[in-house]
């Protein structure tokens, strides 16, 4: 059994003491930021990227991944207890989870959320293990036109799933792609858009842009209105679900896991989309739809399973194709590139150890999260009462030194400060930042593959539709775009995001 041998190899690495420790640190930090409103996984991962320089690449990725799926747990804790979803993916959990808390069943809701997540995490780990090799072997036959089309699909999907108007999301992708052009062009050696600054010849640093648009811009926007009063907390009494609870939530968790695993795989998919879809599926599948919104346990189990499953399977396109599905994956990819690992199909063959260690660590991390979350839920909730005025200076300190540590220069700190200002104004105009980052990361690759495709075809654009795989991918992208732009879907999409 190839798979068993690979899993054994993975566990061999991920169960080492050092990796266990950093996995723990990752899920611990992840839970903390999940609980804290106003500090998302994007900003945190960006903030901690520089600190992983000193670590082994495997260890660094294990920790960063832990932050991401740990945040899903933490986000649902506050969603249930105080109706304040720490993460976007926990928004639907708050609907029924918080109702359950009001009915004195907070403990049950938390336990079901955690167990559904663990179940989903286990299954989706298996999905990653089983599915990635297939996708990677398929991807080995991909050439420039296929990669170009895949990236277009990824960018279109990112546009569709962004909050707010589609047109602005398209513009943000374009701006991201343009920012990615800054620096010396690899083909001609011409320095583009550097405005004479030698420091810009290698482009805007990835860490600087993510800290600028996520950390700095968010601080500027929130420093004024973050006056947290003490929220009303509901007592956590019994954690044990009744037999009836189990009977109702188990099938919901299974459905959520399947749906989430599938949606995580799609370009542009991720935890938030998965939890929203799972909720509507549960509501439709239920024999008691009227209970939804009144504390239906399926409304907690389904979305919680789905967001965790999707958080994990969204690693698949990034790891096997080198195409990040969402903003967090773009950050993870940046982290890999900082450690000189190019994501793509060759990861499975050349970096077997890294791949399987990361996959198995997710499973271990899910177990740690259960232990971390259920017994200590009271402790986590206390974090919410930390005033923002203590939080934001700490974020600033870590960002400034973090950017400095990239090359021991201060230039990129100024770049980040500038991007923070730009990011603040763009966010004010309701422009999403995640598509911009995705564009920035994919930009150089998109251009490179476009140029290569055009060289192969001698300037004939039809190469993208005459190659079968590329044509299929573009067709999917086109269908997605048409569906979303159609007036009916447009209204529906606005409804979905209006709820959040």
């Amino acid at each position: 059994m190839d798979l068993l041998a690979n899993l054994e190899l993975g566990f061999g690495v991920s169960l080492s003491l050092g990796n266990l420790f950093y996995c723990f640190v990752g899920v611990l930090l992840g839970t903390a930021i999940g609980v804290l409103p106003g500090l998302g996984p994007m900003a945190t991962i960006a903030m901690l990227l520089p600190m992983t320089y000193a670590l082994d690449p495997i260890t660094a990725l294990i920790m960063l991944a832990g932050i991401y799926y740990g945040a899903q747990y933490g986000g649902s804790t506050t969603a249930i207890l105080i109706n304040l979803p720490g993460e976007a993916s926990a928004v639907v959990t708050a609907i029924d989870g918080h109702k359950m808390a009001q009915q004195g069943r907070a403990g049950v809701a938390l336990a079901v959320a955690a167990l559904a997540s663990l179940f989903a995490g286990t299954i989706s780990t298996a999905v990653i293990a089983g599915f990635s090799p297939i996708l990677a072997s398929l991807a080995l036959s991909f050439r420039s036109p296929e990669y170009f089309s895949l990236m277009i699909l990824g960018l279109i999907a990112a546009v569709i799933l962004a909050h707010g108007p589609i047109l602005r999301a398209i513009a943000m992708v374009l701006i991201g792609l343009l920012l990615g052009c800054i620096g010396v062009d690899v083909n001609s050696g011409v320095a583009r858009f550097t405005f004479g600054a030698l420091e810009l010849s290698s482009g805007i640093d990835f860490v600087a842009i993510s800290m600028g648009i996520f950390a700095f811009a968010e601080i500027i926007a929130h420093v004024r209105d973050k006056t947290t009063g003490s929220p009303k907390l509901y007592e956590v009494t019994s954690l044990w679900p009744t037999r009836q609870d189990v009977k109702r939530s188990a099938p919901a968790a299974v459905r959520g896991t399947l749906l989430g695993s599938l949606l995580g795989l799609m370009p542009g998919g991720g935890a938030t989309l998965a939890s929203f879809s799972a909720y509507s599926v549960e509501k439709r599948a239920s024999k008691r739809p009227q209970e939804f919104g009144q504390g239906a346990i399926e409304g907690v189990a389904g979305p919680e399973a789905a967001n965790n499953a999707a958080a994990q399977t969204s690693f698949i396109p990034m790891l096997t194709l080198g195409i990040p599905a969402n903003g967090v994956m773009a950050l993870m990819m940046g982290a890999m590139m900082i450690h000189n690992i190019a994501p793509g199909p060759q990861i499975l063959t050349q970096n077997t150890q890294l791949f399987w260690a990361l996959v198995t660590s997710m499973w271990i991390g899910n177990f740690m999260l259960i232990v971390l979350n259920l017994p200590m839920v009271g402790l986590w909730v206390k974090l919410i009462s930390i005033p923002y005025r203590y939080l934001y200076p700490a974020i600033l300190v870590f960002c400034v030194i973090g950017i400095f540590s990239i090359d021991n220069q201060t230039f990129q700190i100024f770049v980040a400060a500038g991007l923070g200002v730009a990011g603040y104004f763009l966010a004010r105009l309701k422009c999403e930042m995640a598509p911009l980052l995705l564009g920035f990361v994919l930009g150089p690759m998109l251009e490179e593959n476009f140029r290569r495709s055009m060289q192969i075809s001698r300037g004939n654009l039809s190469i993208f539709v005459t190659q079968p795989i590329s044509a299929c991918v573009l067709a999917v992208a086109l269908v997605l775009l048409i569906v979303v732009l159609s007036p009916r879907m447009r209204r529906k999409r606005e409804d979905v995001f209006a709820e959040s």
Partner: protein
């Protein structure tokens, strides 16, 4: 007529349309400085030129949409936070190499505190000391980074 226009420019559609067009124009002007080449042999200017043109088009559509939009921006710009936070980051970046970590971090923390309308000095002092110690502990002691500590 001018009323409608003025109102349109106060909507998110109108303002973001202007921003997109401005960025697009910068991109087009910048890209045209570099060799464009042909589709088969693209020069360094080709790709950014395409992006710039697309951005201008998106900006125009957005501007057109603003005439029917009623999403007027009501929220004022938080000038204070904007200026203070940016200033704090820039000053600390300037101080980092010139004066050292143990000066730059306190400067960053203290300046940034003025982003909120009321500054409480005792908690600020504690935060400054704790964060400076933390920065030293994590980056210099823990990660062994080469940062000048103080200027002498």
């Amino acid at each position: 007529m001018s009323n409608i226009l003025a109102r349109a420019l106060r909507t998110t559609d109108g303002q973001s349309g202007l921003v997109f067009m401005a960025v697009g124009i910068i991109a087009v002007v910048g890209a045209s400085q570099y060799p464009i080449g042909t589709l088969a042999r693209m020069g360094p200017g080709f790709f950014p030129l395409c992006l710039g043109v697309m951005l201008i088009v998106v900006g125009l559509i957005s501007l057109a949409g603003s005439l029917r939009s009623d999403d007027v921006i009501a929220e004022p710009v938080s000038v204070r936070a904007l200026v203070v936070i940016t200033l704090a980051v820039v000053v600390s970046a300037l101080l980092l190499l010139q004066a050292g970590l143990l000066v730059a971090i306190p400067a960053l923390v203290i300046i940034s505190a003025f982003a909120s309308p009321s500054v409480k000095w005792l908690p600020l002092l504690v935060t400054t000391v704790v964060l400076t110690a933390l920065a030293y502990g994590v980056f210099v002691w823990g990660l062994n980074m080469q940062i000048p500590l103080v200027w002498w």
